[in-house]
């Protein structure tokens, strides 16, 4: 097509045709259906459904908990990536392989086991609950579940960058008289920061849509521990299709904006880490 060189490989028409067909049937038509259906709502109706008090409480928890969970991952995920790349210690390979566990474990199981860990008689809850730290059926539980579910993003985004980090730059800083702490703050941190922000954004985007684990750990109480995806399901179960649609549109537009932001971030971060 646009290629000016002669390309002798066969199958371009067949594979591109099938790709576009399958993409349309599975992804594009359902997305279009959601937007088209929502046009049956007037702007006023849409605003009412998308911004009533219960919906606002759900957004607040969804976005707030997701931001905290992504931030926790930005801090501890960076630390974990650093430790896994820079140091050698017993069990390093095992933990390294286990980092992908939250991606491999169905989210329902994640919610189930975390709820039981932080419950009053759970392994961790028995020590934490007496101090007022309740991790099950509270907003904190939502944060914990989201932290687990999004854990691999920051670690896995940062690891390759740390591995390719030019140690010569650190040595140069040391030669010029910088202490370790100063080298870290002035040389290492600024180089890693764009990648950490990218990982944060990926984790945040994933957390916004999470549903499976939250169902188990949050208790799903309206105005208290109800996240936006749970409210969509609640509205669907009471046959309130328009109400569910309005929330879905808000979530989806937000994820598309985030997706665009992540694409931009990845390009930006790439400039800092190119050798």
């Amino acid at each position: 097509m646009a290629d000016k060189k002669f390309n002798p490989l066969p199958g371009f028409g067949l594979t591109l045709g099938f790709t576009l067909f399958y993409l349309s049937v599975i992804v594009l038509i359902p997305i279009a259906a959601l937007f088209l259906k929502s046009f049956s709502l007037s702007w006023r109706e849409f605003l009412d459904l998308a911004t009533n008090a219960r919906a606002l409480a759900a957004y607040k928890l969804t976005f707030g908990a997701s931001a905290i969970a992504a931030l926790a991952n930005a801090v501890f995920g960076t630390l974990l990536a650093w430790v896994l790349v820079r140091y050698d210690f017993p069990g390093r390979r095992f933990i390294d392989a286990l980092v992908d566990f939250p991606f491999a474990l169905p989210t329902a199981v994640a919610g189930l086991t975390l709820a039981s860990l932080f419950a009053e008689n759970g392994w961790l809850g028995q020590f934490l609950v007496p101090y007022g730290i309740k991790g099950a059926f509270t907003p904190l539980g939502v944060v914990l579940a989201l932290t687990f579910v999004c854990m691999p993003f920051v670690v896995r985004t940062l690891q390759p960058v740390l591995e390719n980090f030019d140690r010569g730059v650190e040595e140069a800083a040391a030669t010029l008289g910088a202490g370790r702490w100063r080298t870290f703050l002035r040389i290492i941190a600024p180089t890693l920061l764009p990648t950490i922000i990218t990982g944060f954004a990926l984790a945040f985007a994933r957390a916004i849509g999470e549903y499976g684990s939250i169902v188990f750990i949050s208790g799903n109480m309206p105005f208290q521990t109800e996240i936006a995806p749970t409210l969509i399901v609640m509205r669907l179960e009471s046959y309130d299709y328009t109400g569910a649609m309005a929330l879905a549109i808000v979530l989806m537009v937000f994820s598309f904006v985030l997706l665009a932001a992540i694409n931009w971030l990845e390009n930006w971060a790439g400039k800092f880490t190119k050798q």
Binding site: Y22, L80, Y211, M245
Partner: protein, 299 residues
């Protein structure tokens, strides 16, 4: 001061400023391992300990329950339909994207990633809006007596949607990296298009393909949100393993949901083990590969 001590002091000073002190190092390791312990190791161990809290007989009883059995069967059927379809799509998409140049390629790549950006619950809702009683095709489906929502077809479509990008995403970079010189050589030597694909392309992207299939399968078997919205939760009929876990969670036997969940945890561990093995093998293959000294430098 002897030369040796001088040298020793100089080395100590230089490691001091290019490495952390042992105290800092081990504190960082301890904090990181505490985080990994609470968020990786304990949740994993807890599943199995809770699953066996009612003893072997309780565990076995929960797994051999008739409704659990039908949930296992349904999960396997859904994965057996949706994974192969996404594999075919992944192969087609990576072939046209990696081997050819065309306008709109970047946009196509973004579209392929879309399902990852959409909340699974919203994905389920879209399918309800298309095929549900209130949906675009609802009336037509009803008059022709075809059930999609609250039945197997809807759950398969939901699963395909959420696992859509997995295989394609793994394959596209691998195929781009291998280029198309080998395929062109095969064609020059008289192989047909299909022969070239089977004997040249497929073997060279085998690892990437397996990797994609493993990840796609794990998600297909473990998907909760999207499938939950379209399933209708009919016990014994439209419950998959994750939906069965949720149902048991609301019942009186605390060990039962964990027993069923342990199946999914084993699936996750097998997935991780296979993934780690594939990565290790690929790493070793690259290390053992003889340096390409006889080849002309790449253009």
């Amino acid at each position: 001061m002897t030369a040796a001590t001088q040298r020793r002091e100089r080395t100590a000073a230089s490691t001091r400023s290019t490495q952390e002190s042992p105290f800092v190092k081990w504190t960082l390791i301890a904090v990181a391992m505490l985080f990994a312990g609470v968020f990786l190791l304990l949740p994993l161990l807890n599943v199995f300990v809770q699953a066996f809290s009612a003893g072997w007989s309780g565990y076995w009883g929960a797994l051999t329950d008739e409704d659990t059995f039908s949930a296992i069967k349904l999960t396997l059927i859904i994965a057996a339909i949706s994974v192969p379809l996404n594999v075919v799509f992944g192969l087609a998409a990576s072939w046209c994207i990696a081997k050819f140049d065309f306008r709109g390629k970047a946009m196509l790549l973004t579209f392929i990633d879309l399902p990852f950006a959409i909340s699974p619950v919203v994905s389920g809702l879209m399918i309800v809006l298309l095929f549900g009683a209130q949906g675009y095709a609802g009336e037509w489906l009803q008059t022709h007596d075809i059930k999609i929502i609250f039945a197997l077809p809807g759950m398969v479509i939901a699963t395909i949607f959420v696992t859509f990008p997995f295989v394609a995403r793994e394959l596209i970079p691998v195929m781009q990296a291998t280029g198309s010189d080998q395929e062109q050589a095969a064609l020059t030597l008289g192989a047909s298009g299909w022969q070239t694909f089977w004997h040249v392309t497929l073997p060279s992207v085998k690892t990437g393909l397996l990797y994609g299939i493993i990840l796609c399968n794990a998600r297909a078997m473990g998907e909760f949100g999207a499938v939950s919205v379209v399933s209708g939760h009919i016990t014994g009929l439209t419950d998959t393993i994750p939906l069965r876990v949720e149902k048991l969670y609301h019942e009186f036997n605390p060990a039962a949901p964990f027993a069923v969940a342990s199946l999914l945890a084993v699936l996750a561990l097998v997935t991780l083990a296979l993934k780690t093995f594939l990565e290790w093998r690929e790493h070793r293959r690259l290390e053992l590969a003889p340096p390409p000294e006889n080849l002309p430098p790449p253009a």
